[in-house]
């Protein structure tokens, strides 16, 4: 009871930074978790890396011009998404082209980060672009972040069924008269927003934790697509809140009492959840065998 009282009246709830951090991680987490399930189905995890890596170049460039880093992430992410769509699926040597363009952008990113540290004389920019900055993010971005996440969820809901068929088998989708190209384009848009939102929250390097972690766990546990999406979103929200809470508490932790990075904590919680999901899936298969209920 005493603990509960302390929890409810904790200064945690009175800090605007904490609330912004909760909003940012929750909205980035939920949209990534939902889009992530389709990324897993479509086998596009690698594309997630490309989007956030190119986005990081944009974010590091935006610091140079004192623009909010989220705009940098989003604009370069859209550029990368458009590039990937233009290259298409069947182009020969696509992997080579992608790899080279990616290294070109990461090279640019390295240059911008170098210039950033010259301008601001600290390594903070590098840290926040690569590893996230939920407590120090510009509060003015928060409504935009929530808005784009919500709009993205609406887009995914609108194309839900055709997207599912396209993700299972594009040729079959085409035979049934689904505009595969348009569905793919809309999904790419949703993918970019999810990737860049979670890049802002988690940093470019750890954003895949939000994109892949909950979705992979959801797909392992669930036998139904709706359940997979629900579990994925729940796991993302749990990781976000637990991560922010622990990051806040970690200011009292040894050794230095300077706190641990929030993105590190969230990424580790997501990893634990994934391991837990694997165990749950195996356990369920085991129970089913014991029960003799075979479903071939």
């Amino acid at each position: 009871m005493m603990y509960l009282d302390a929890f409810v009246h904790s200064p945690f709830w009175h800090s605007p930074q904490v609330w912004h951090a909760l909003f940012i991680t929750t909205s980035a987490g939920v949209v990534s978790a939902v889009v992530g399930v389709f990324i897993v189905l479509r086998g596009q995890s690698f594309a997630g890396h490309i989007l956030t890596d190119v986005g990081a170049t944009g974010a590091s460039a935006s610091f140079l011009f004192s623009i909010n880093s989220w705009y940098g992430f989003l604009s370069f992410g859209l550029l990368a998404g458009a590039g990937m769509e233009a290259l298409g699926k069947r182009t020969r040597g696509r992997d080579t082209a992608t790899g080279l363009v990616l290294s070109f952008f990461m090279g640019l990113g390295a240059l911008f980060l170098f210039l950033d540290t010259r301008v601001s004389n600290t390594a903070d920019v590098t840290m926040s672009v690569l590893f996230g900055s939920v407590f120090t993010a510009d509060p003015n971005t928060t409504p935009w972040l929530i808005g784009t996440s919500a709009a993205t969820l609406l887009v995914v809901a609108a194309i839900y069924r055709p997207l599912l068929i396209c993700s299972i088998d594009a040729e079959w989708a085409q035979a049934r008269g689904i505009p595969v190209r348009w569905v793919g384009l809309l999904f790419m848009l949703a993918f970019v927003v999810a990737a860049e939102d979670s890049a802002l929250a988690m940093g470019a390097l750890l954003s895949t934790a939000f994109l892949m972690g909950p979705a992979a766990a959801g797909v392992r546990i669930a036998h139904r697509i709706g359940a997979a999406i629900g579990i994925s979103a729940l796991l993302a929200v749990m990781a976000a809140w637990l991560g922010v809470g622990l990051a806040y508490a970690s200011y009292n932790w040894p050794p230095a009492g300077r706190g641990y990075p929030c993105s590190f904590l969230i990424a580790d919680i997501l990893f634990m959840e994934y391991l837990g999901a694997g165990m749950a899936a195996r356990w369920r298969a085991h129970i089913r065998r014991l029960g003799g209920k075979r479903c071939t």
């Binding site: 839900y160 069924r161 055709p162 068929i165 299972i168 035979a175 479903c295 071939t296």
Partner: protein
């Protein structure tokens, strides 16, 4: 029901279909037979509206075809499913009912009943709740048929359903399709490279070779004279122990047609005497 009129199709500057012509009536079970590379898949795509013929036309119910026609059900050769795909058999079948519509599906009783009926008509109710990625080839094949049936099409296109199945399952699937054609008055066009497993069930054969077709009853089409005319060189049709074998056709040659294609040679020129 289906009327294919003198269809010509060029793909990558090669004439793949050069005057294909046949009709299918409601309730008929028809086999589309031909060696590899004869243009069977292209013909199927043309009927589905995915390929536009350069010449000739395809009519369904006397109207030109369009892509996504609900009167046509399509069972693709193979759907690649990851073992972890979070879909149960009945969800997979439900995608055939309203999967092309926008938005999230709402649970409705009529929807559930239609899916249940489709599952029942292919005897797939026992594994309808299992994840589709873990089913055997025969089980998945039945679900694919149910998925095409649930939209109540009047023409069913089935692409090479037997190539991934063992003899017993192949026989079962043929019997099932035959029954569906009878009981529902549905026209079925089944693509296969081997005619023999279908012999007892087919009403009609459309034989495709070198981009041209020959259609009719099995005993009319599968004769040395008519197939030699189609191939443009002498082949012999032999009947032995209830099986039909085409001797001298491209499948009998030592150079498989794919190898001839890879060598940059024309369709059958490598092996034609």
């Amino acid at each position: 029901m289906l009327d294919v009129r003198d269809v010509h199709v060029h793909l990558a500057e090669r004439l793949v279909l050069a005057g294909v012509q046949f009709q299918i009536e409601a309730g008929e079970f028809v086999g589309l037979i031909g060696p590899n590379g004869a243009g069977k898949t292209t013909l199927l795509k043309t009927i589905l509206g995915l390929v536009t013929p350069d010449l000739g036309q395809v009519l369904v119910d006397n109207r030109p075809i369009r892509r996504g026609n609900p009167a046509i059900g399509y069972v693709p050769q193979k759907v690649h499913l990851d073992p972890d795909t979070p879909l149960r058999g009945r969800d997979f079948v439900a995608l055939g009912l309203d999967g092309v519509r926008w938005g999230v599906p709402l649970p409705r009783r009529s929807r559930r009943e239609r899916v249940e009926r489709a599952l029942g008509s292919v005897q797939a109710l026992t594994y309808a709740d299992a994840p589709v990625g873990r089913l055997s080839g025969g089980e998945l094949q039945r679900l694919q048929i149910a998925q095409a049936l649930v939209g109540e099409p009047r023409l069913l296109l089935v692409d090479e359903p037997l190539s991934n199945l063992d003899i017993r399952n192949a026989h079962e699937v043929v019997r099932l399709l035959h029954e569906l054609a009878r009981s529902r008055g549905m026209a079925i066009l089944l693509v296969a490279h081997d005619l023999n497993p279908l012999l007892s069930a087919l009403d009609k054969v459309v034989y495709l070779a070198r981009g041209r077709s020959m259609a009719g009853r099995t005993d009319e089409v599968m004769t040395s004279e008519s197939l030699s005319r189609l191939y443009g060189y002498p082949v012999e049709v032999m009947r032995t122990r209830g099986r039909i074998v085409v001797v001298g056709g491209p499948d009998m040659h030592l150079v498989p047609p794919e190898a001839a294609d890879h060598a940059g040679l024309g369709e059958w020129e490598a092996t034609t005497p």
